[in-house]
């Protein structure tokens, strides 16, 4: 199994500007979220979380039914549902449509699902220019990077870095004001919108009963992507379904607040099939591509199925003290933070990414803020146990397992425990206080790692049980 990427973690931790950018941006998002759930809404907010959890559970437990319903309803509205087993199938479908219609330019709005399958790379390989139109996504596309945050993909970049990037890639005057940078991007992107032959978007929710997709956003670019080009293709995971349009209300309230601290995002679009007769805008053709790519595997695991309830708000990232230190790029997949730590090994297998569930202090902040009440801490623990089973099978945990077996033996034999004086044995010496080092042979493994950043308490001469026995003896004598 692959080792923990210690060097890369260290590089991030010692990059001061990056550390500050991540910590400050996530802090802002935390504060905005808190401000959007004022005292008088707190009780309601908890009820919404429960309701959303129940809707997701119900939908996923009856997914076969809702998928068929969706397919019927979408067809009735002139749209077409396409199933894709993996990213390659999505890319193949979009390429075919583009080539048949002679499309050379695709505009895209922000979509984690297409990031997940590296759609842009597929299309570029086929000679189809693909342009990201969400500002953050556009920035990282220009930089040739991947998103470091589910909601704020360029969160790791400062405005000065963006000024350099625009200057170099777009050959414009160096501009450090975010508002002016936005205008530069807007000028470039308007041209792209007007000449694109195909628009690709994600979908925050897919409504089975009406065959609609719901997209929420703040920049309006998703609305342009889905209405200006003659063809609109939406790509979404199969877990994005909700039964009815009325179910959306609770999710909108949760998603805006949890993600960016907004009661509602600026644009909320409900799109149902292509343009119909008498309508003045909308695409001529509409396709909804539903992606599996590991999702049915997670669905089949009842203990961890709720990992699929995620609505990609990013709140667990913003509140995770580990994410806030290591940022998104240290996570192996586009999904970072606590949600990434639980879905990556489930989608990709334990082999490579076994260490992710261990990259957590189990503080529980993620579970507390998750708008759909995914019990992330419990799933982290569950995956840890699974990783250990896997390691034992592959013979990679011999020493660790021996250590825990020995520990369990000591802890179930009180006399041995007392004699062993567990911590004390290694560390006790005459000097009290906090120590920099431990004697020779013990300065290894866990103790060595601990001492790299912290001192250790010198163990006292007597344990509690010794002191307690002495105290009771003294009391008996006094009586």
């Amino acid at each position: 199994m692959r080792p923990i990427p210690v060097e890369s973690l260290r590089a991030t931790l010692s990059n001061q500007p990056l550390e500050e950018a991540i910590y400050a941006s996530t802090r802002r998002l935390m504060e905005k979220r808190a401000a959007s759930i004022p005292e008088h809404l707190r009780e309601d907010f908890q009820k919404w979380r429960e309701q959303a959890h129940r809707i997701k559970r119900h939908t996923l437990e009856n997914l076969d039914y809702y998928l068929e319903l969706l397919e019927d309803r979408l067809r009735a509205r002139g749209g077409k549902l396409v199933y894709a087993r993996d990213g390659a199938e999505v890319a193949r479908f979009i390429t075919e449509v583009a080539k048949e219609r002679g499309v050379r330019l695709v505009v895209k709005s922000k979509s984690m699902t297409t990031e997940e399958i590296h759609l842009n790379e597929w299309l570029e390989r086929e000679g189809i220019e693909t342009v990201e139109t969400d500002l953050g996504e556009y920035i990282i596309q220009l930089a040739g990077e991947r998103p470091s945050h589910i909601v704020a993909p360029a969160l790791h970049k400062t405005r000065y870095q963006i000024a350099d990037l625009f200057h170099e890639k777009l050959r414009v005057e160096r501009e450090e004001e975010p508002e002016k940078q936005t205008l530069i991007a807007r000028r470039v992107l308007r041209e792209k919108f007007l000449s694109a032959g195909l628009g690709v978007t994600g979908a925050n929710f897919v409504v089975a009963e009406s065959g609609s997709i719901a997209i929420i956003e703040n920049e309006g670019n998703a609305r342009l992507c889905s209405s200006l080009p003659p063809i609109h293709i939406a790509v979404a995971g199969i877990e994005k379904l909700v039964p009815r349009a009325r179910d959306l209300a609770v999710f909108f309230k949760l998603l805006g607040r949890s993600g960016t601290g907004q009661p509602l995002t600026v644009y909320t679009s409900l799109l149902t099939g292509p343009r119909r007769e008498g309508e003045i805008d909308g695409p001529e053709e509409f396709y909804l591509v539903l992606l599996d790519s590991g999702r049915t595997k997670v669905l089949a695991e009842p203990r961890r199925r709720e990992s699929l309830y995620c609505i990609r708000c990013g709140a667990c990232l913003n509140h995770c003290p580990v994410y806030r230190k290591i940022g998104g790029h240290n996570y192996p997949w586009v999904y970072s933070g606590p949600i990434g730590a639980i879905i990556t090994p489930q989608f990709h297998g334990m082999e490579k990414d076994w260490w992710l569930p261990f990259a957590s202090s189990l503080c529980g902040a993620c579970g507390e803020v998750c708008p759909v009440k995914i019990d992330i801490p419990r799933i982290l623990l569950d995956l840890r146990a699974e990783a250990v089973r896997e390691k034992i099978r592959s013979g990679e945990a011999r020493l660790e397992r021996l250590a825990f077996r020995l520990w369990a033996w000591v802890m179930t034999h009180p006399k041995v425990y007392e004699a062993a004086g567990l911590f004390n044995l290694a560390l006790r010496d005459d000097e009290s206080g906090w120590k920099d080092t431990v004697p020779g042979v013990f300065h290894a493994g866990p103790l060595k790692e601990w001492l790299r950043f912290r001192k250790l308490p010198a163990p006292p001469a007597k344990t509690f049980r010794d002191l307690w026995a002495a105290r009771r003896q003294k009391e008996a004598l006094e009586e």
């Binding site: 202090s361 503080c363 529980g364 179930t412 009180p414 001192k455 002191l467 307690w468």
Partner: protein, 241 residues
């Protein structure tokens, strides 16, 4: 006597911070409870459980269940260990109905120290005096699994001579996380630094918490940066007169 409590002195307290155990006993006796200590006790099993070694954790948890089977109240100087027993034992014994029965009967009798004082003993003023400026660190499992937030602060406010100054990020993790602190030593160390920044900004003389493991992490890092700043378990503050 109000009744009898049995101490569960966690392995960290037993081995590294024995005075915390004694202080807890002092306070409980002072407010009228008879205190016993069962010498066969060892650990709750959390280190193995959190590391993915559930078989080993189960053995140790079963030992705990045996030791405390007939105790009226079990009082613990740790939110984390209390939560292991009251929140995670059930998962550990999910396929063992007999043990599950024992877990359920035990759960209502296991109390974190501050919660026991307020909710069972019904005391807020334990007659303590501690003339220091302190800040309070919310330990994660106490805060999020046991919902302990105001309780320890209420107890602290009744201590004579004590000034409580809140830090900005009292609820942010100190970075300990058990084996996390050695598996990801760099990240854990960086988390401790952030916590310490916030502690130092208060100008407090020390930090109070209800978990010795967090305090070991915070103090271990403080010793390198600001050796004058101290750490106290709530029990030590409340025992002081």
């Amino acid at each position: 006597m109000a009744g009898r409590v049995s101490l569960f002195v966690t392995c960290i307290v037993d081995q590294l911070f024995p005075r915390v155990g004694l202080a807890m006993a002092d306070v409980l006796e002072r407010v009228g409870w008879e205190v016993e200590f069962r010498r066969d006790q060892t650990c709750c099993g959390q280190p193995a459980f959190n590391s993915g070694y559930w078989d080993e954790a189960r053995q140790v948890a079963r030992h705990f269940l045996q030791v405390f089977a007939d105790a009226d109240y079990i009082v613990v100087p740790s939110g984390s260990c209390t939560s292991m027993i009251t929140h995670h034992f059930e998962e550990l014994f999910a396929s063992d109905p007999a043990a599950l029965e024992e877990v359920r009967s035990l759960r209502s009798r296991v109390w974190e120290f501050s919660q026991f004082l307020l909710e069972v003993a019904g005391v807020e003023d334990v007659g303590a005096r501690f003339e220091r400026v302190v800040t309070y660190h919310d330990s994660c499992h106490a805060l999020r699994e046991l919902k302990i937030k105001e309780g320890p602060r209420r107890l602290l406010r009744r201590v004579r001579g004590l000034e409580l100054r809140e830090m900005e990020i009292a609820e942010e993790c100190c970075g300990f996380g058990g084996t996390f602190s050695v598996k990801f030593a760099d990240v854990s160390g960086a988390m401790a630094e952030t916590k310490i920044d916030s502690i130092l900004r208060t100008g407090a003389e020390g930090v109070v918490s209800i978990d010795s493991s967090c305090l070991m992490q915070i103090r271990g890092a403080l010793e390198r940066r600001a050796p004058g700043v101290e750490t106290w378990h709530l029990a030590e503050v409340l025992a002081s007169q």
